[in-house]
C-alpha cells in the first residue's frame, strides 16, 4: 500500500483481503453503518477492522433493528386501528421537519436520518435522488456525514441492482475513512526529498497526492495546486541537475540565482 499502515483505520492486509473478496468490505461497511445511532454524534470514525465476531454481532443487531422498523412500518397497513383517524407512524414519520432554524450541519444530519429510514423502507430511488447531489458537493458535508451518505448511496444502488455504482460509492466511503498524512505534510516531505536531489521520489509523493485530488475538501485546494507546481519544479530541477543544459543568460547574477 502506498500509505503508512500505522496511521490508518484500515490496515493494508485488511483492505487487500477486502478487495480480493467479492465486495465484503462494502457489506461490512454497510452493516456497520446500519448500527450507527441516528441522532447521536459519533466520537470516532466507524471502525471496519473489527473482529469477525463483532461484525457478526453487529450484523445481527442491525438485522434485528431493520426487521423491527419494517414490522413497525408495516403494522398500520396490516391491521388498521379501529379509530382509523389516528395518524400512522409513516405519516408522522421522520420526514416531517422537527427542528426549526436548524444549522446547515443539523439540516444535513436530519436529511441523513430521513434517508436512513427511507433506506430501511426500501425507498432506494429517493435515497439516490437526494443523496447523490449532496455527496457531489464537497463543501456541504463534513467527513462523517460524507461517509454516511456514501454508504447509504452504495446500499441503495446495490439494492437497485447497479453493482458498479454501488462499488464506486463503497470505495469512496473507504477513501473517506482512511487516515493519511495531511497534504501540507506531504508537500513538506516532497520538499525534503527534492532538496536531497531525489526529484523522482518527490514526484511520486506529489503524484500520490494528486491521484486522490477529488477526495479532499476545498480547504486543501491550495495545497493541491501547490503540489502541481512542485511536480513541474521537480522536472525542471532534474533537467538542471543533469548539467547538460546551456546556462540561462543572467543566471550568474548573485542576487537571484535563478
Amino acid at each position: 500500500m502506498a500509505h503508512d499502515p500505522a496511521d490508518e483505520t484500515l490496515s493494508s492486509d485488511e483492505i487487500h483481503e477486502a478487495l480480493e473478496a467479492n465486495e465484503p468490505i462494502a457489506d461490512e461497511l454497510l452493516e456497520a453503518a446500519a448500527d450507527v445511532p441516528i441522532v447521536e454524534p459519533r466520537g470516532e470514525p466507524i471502525s471496519v477492522s473489527s473482529s469477525p465476531g463483532q461484525t457478526r454481532a453487529a450484523w445481527f443487531f442491525g438485522t434485528v433493528v431493520i426487521a423491527l422498523l419494517a414490522v413497525q412500518t408495516a403494522q398500520p397497513f396490516l391491521s388498521p386501528a379501529p379509530g382509523g383517524n389516528e395518524p400512522s407512524i409513516a405519516a408522522a414519520g421522520p420526514a416531517a421537519p422537527v427542528v426549526a432554524r436548524a444549522s446547515p450541519a443539523e439540516e444535513i444530519d436530519r436529511t441523513l436520518r430521513e434517508m436512513r429510514v427511507h433506506l430501511s423502507r426500501g425507498l432506494y430511488e429517493d435515497v439516490r435522488r437526494l443523496l447523490e447531489p449532496l455527496v457531489d458537493d464537497p463543501a456541504r458535508l463534513d467527513r462523517d456525514q460524507r461517509f454516511e451518505a456514501l454508504i447509504m448511496l452504495a446500499k441503495a444502488y446495490r439494492s437497485l441492482g447497479n453493482v458498479e455504482k454501488a462499488q464506486h460509492y463503497s470505495l469512496l466511503a473507504t477513501d473517506q475513512m482512511i487516515e493519511r498524512r495531511e497534504p501540507a505534510e506531504i508537500l513538506e516531505f516532497a520538499g525534503t526529498l527534492a532538496n536531497d536531489r531525489r526529484q523522482d521520489e518527490a514526484r511520486v509523493e506529489l503524484m500520490k497526492l494528486l491521484a486522490r485530488r477529488d477526495g479532499f475538501s476545498e480547504k486543501d485546494a491550495p495545497w493541491l495546486s501547490l503540489a502541481e507546481a512542485r511536480i513541474a519544479d521537480a522536472w525542471y530541477t532534474q533537467a538542471k541537475q543533469s548539467g547538460h543544459l546551456a546556462p540561462l543568460p543572467g543566471a550568474r547574477a548573485p542576487e537571484s540565482g535563478r
Binding site: E228, A229, W235, A239, S256
Partner: protein, 515 residues
C-alpha cells in the same frame, strides 16, 4: 480484452503476491482480473465527441490494473516499457478522481507508481521514471507541460507569474526561442510587479537575438535600464545591446551604450560585467580602457572560470596595444593557473604572436606547437596555420610557409583566409607562379571587404604578365570603390600600365565599348 490479457502477461509476479496462475490459461487470467476489479472503479463520464473525462476510484489496487481499466474505458491499450516499468506497475495506488481528463488521470496514477506516461490515440504508454536515464530535454518538456497544467487548473494562483517565468526559462533552455519570447512577453504584460521581471526582459532579449531580431532584442535590453535602473542586470543588458548594435554595424549606438557602462564602472560593476566590458572595449579599439577594466575585474574575482576568461581577454587587449611583454606575462600567468583551461590554445597562440613580434620566431613556433597539442577549435587552428605560414615566409622557408598558408586560405573564416590568401599569393609571385597567384587573388575577390585588396593584387599580376589591358580594366572597375592608399596604389598601377603600353594595346575592343 486481448489487450488487457496482453498487458497482464507482460508483468512478472511480485514477491509479495500469491503465485500467479499459469499465464497460458486465459480463463483463469480473466477470473483473476475480475476479482481484482472489485477494488477499482473506472468510468468514462464524457459523452461521445467530447474530450474524455473519467471517474476513477481505487484503494491500493496495483497501478497496472487501474491503468488497464482506464485504457479499456477509453478504447486504448496499455503498453509498459522495458526494465523497471513492470515491477513498478505492481505498486498499489489510491485514486479518487472525478470528471478528470484522461491525460491527467493517467499521469497522476502512473506517477503515483513511479511511472511516466504518454497518451496517444491508441495507447497508454508507461515507462519507469528514472532520472539517470531521462534526457534533460525530456525533463524540460515535462516541466513545461506540468507548469502549463498547473496554470490551466488555477490561472489566478498567487505563484502564477513565477510559473510563467519558469515556462519561459525552460523553453529558452530547450531552444524554443519563439515560444520563450511569447512566454516572457506575456509575463511582462500581465505581471508588472513580478520580482524577477528584469531577468525576463534580459532573457527575452537574448531569445530575440537568437531569432535574429536585433531590434527586438535591443528594445528588451534597454528597457531594463529604464524600468529597473538600480538592478544588477542593467550593465549586462547594455553590454548585450552593444554586441547587438555591433552586429548591425551601428557603431554610434554601440559606443553610446558602452559609454554608459564604462561610466558606471566607478559605481562598481560585477566582475562578469567588467570582463564583458573589457572585451567589448578591446573589440571597439579601446585597448587601453579594456586593459583597465579587465585588471579591475581580475582584482575583484576569485571565480576560476571568470579569471580564466578575464586573463584571456587581458592578453588580447594587451596584444591590441602591442604590449608584447604584457602579453607574455599574462599568458604565463594563465598557463600557471589554468594549464588545461578551455582558452589555453588561444593563449599559446597569443604567446606565439608576441614572440614573433619581439623577433623570436623559434619560441613563437614552439608556442604554436603547444597550441596545437591543446586541441584548439577550428578558428585557433587556422590562426596557428596562418601565423606559422607567416613566420616561415619571413624566415625564407617558402615551401613550408605555403603549406600553412594554403590551409589557412581555404578556411571559412574571412578574417583568417584573407591575409593567408594575400600572403600566399605574394609568395607565389615571388616564385614566378603568376597564374596560381591570380587564382588566389580571384578567390580573395569573393571575400567581403577584400575586393579592392584583391583587385590591386590582380592588377599587379596582370602587369607582371604584361597584360596591360587587363590591368587597366581591373583598375577602371575598382577605382570607384577604392579610397585613400588603395586608390593611390591603383592609380600608380594604371600609370605604370600606360607607360608600358604600346599603341596596339590601348585600342578599344568590343568589350570596352560595352563597359
Amino acid at each position: 480484452m486481448t489487450a488487457l490479457a496482453a498487458a497482464f502477461l507482460l508483468l512478472p509476479a511480485s514477491p509479495q503476491e500469491p503465485p500467479e496462475p499459469a499465464a497460458a490459461d486465459p480463463a483463469l487470467l480473466q477470473e483473476q482480473l475480475v476479482a481484482r476489479d472489485a477494488a477499482i472503479s473506472v468510468k468514462l463520464v464524457s459523452g461521445e465527441g467530447e474530450s474524455e473525462l473519467l471517474d476513477v476510484v481505487s484503494h491500493g489496487a496495483p497501478a497496472f490494473e487501474v491503468l488497464v481499466r482506464v485504457a479499456q474505458a477509453t478504447g486504448r491499450t496499455l503498453k509498459l516499457g522495458p526494465g523497471d516499468a513492470a515491477p513498478r506497475s505492481h505498486r498499489g495506488v489510491d485514486a479518487n478522481l472525478k470528471r478528470r481528463p484522461l491525460r491527467e488521470v493517467v499521469a497522476w496514477i502512473a506517477g503515483a507508481a513511479g511511472l511516466v506516461s504518454e497518451v496517444t490515440r491508441g495507447d497508454v504508454r508507461c515507462e519507469a521514471d528514472l532520472p539517470e536515464v531521462a534526457a534533460p530535454e525530456q525533463a524540460l518538456a515535462r516541466a513545461i507541460d506540468a507548469y502549463r497544467t498547473a496554470l490551466l487548473h488555477d490561472p489566478t494562483r498567487p505563484d502564477a507569474p513565477r510559473l510563467r517565468f519558469e515556462i519561459g526559462n525552460a523553453l529558452y533552455q530547450l531552444g524554443d526561442f519563439l515560444e520563450s519570447v511569447s512566454a516572457y512577453h506575456d509575463l511582462e504584460r500581465d505581471s508588472p510587479e513580478f520580482g524577477d521581471l528584469p531577468f525576463a526582459y534580459f532573457r527575452c532579449g537574448h531569445a530575440h537575438a537568437q531569432l535574429g531580431d536585433e531590434v527586438g532584442a535591443q528594445a528588451q535590453w534597454l528597457a531594463i535600464a529604464e524600468l529597473f535602473p538600480r538592478h544588477r542586470l542593467v550593465a549586462a543588458a547594455r553590454l548585450a545591446a552593444v554586441r547587438s548594435f555591433r552586429r548591425q554595424k551601428d557603431e554610434v549606438n554601440a559606443s553610446l551604450a558602452l559609454r554608459f557602462v564604462v561610466e558606471g564602472m566607478r559605481d562598481g560593476l560585477a566582475p562578469e560585467d567588467l570582463i564583458e566590458a573589457g572585451e567589448l572595449l578591446n573589440e571597439g579599439g579601446s585597448s587601453e580602457r579594456a586593459v583597465e577594466a579587465l585588471r579591475c575585474a581580475l582584482r575583484s574575482t576569485s571565480d576560476p572560470e571568470l579569471e580564466e576568461r578575464g586573463l584571456t581577454a587581458l592578453a588580447r587587449a594587451q596584444a591590441g596595444r602591442r604590449d608584447w611583454t604584457g602579453v607574455i606575462a599574462t599568458a604565463d600567468g594563465y598557463v600557471k593557473r589554468h594549464p588545461d583551461g578551455p582558452r589555453a590554445a588561444e593563449i599559446e597562440w597569443l604567446l606565439a604572436v608576441a614572440h614573433r613580434e619581439l623577433g623570436d620566431p623559434f619560441t613563437a613556433l614552439l608556442a604554436l606547437a603547444r597550441a596545437r597539442e591543446l586541441r584548439p577549435d577550428d578558428r585557433i587552428e587556422m590562426k596557428c596555420d596562418l601565423l606559422e605560414g607567416q613566420i616561415y615566409a619571413e624566415s625564407g622557408l617558402a615551401e613550408r610557409a605555403q603549406r600553412g598558408l594554403a590551409r589557412a586560405g581555404a578556411c571559412d573564416f574571412p578574417e583568417i583566409a584573407a591575409p593567408a590568401l594575400a600572403a600566399h599569393a605574394r609568395l607565389l609571385i615571388d616564385g614566378g607562379q603568376f597564374e596560381a597567384a591570380r587564382r588566389l587573388y580571384e578567390r580573395l575577390t569573393s571575400l567581403p571587404d577584400h575586393e579592392v585588396e584583391a583587385a590591386i593584387g590582380l592588377a599587379e599580376v596582370s602587369l607582371l604578365q604584361h597584360n596591360r589591358r587587363l590591368c587597366l580594366a581591373v583598375v577602371n572597375e575598382t577605382l570607384p570603390h577604392a579610397t585613400g592608399r588603395e586608390r593611390d596604389r591603383l592609380l600608380e598601377l594604371a600609370l605604370e600600365a600606360l607607360h608600358q603600353a604600346t599603341p596596339g594595346d590601348l585600342e578599344p575592343t568590343e568589350g570596352d565599348h560595352e563597359r
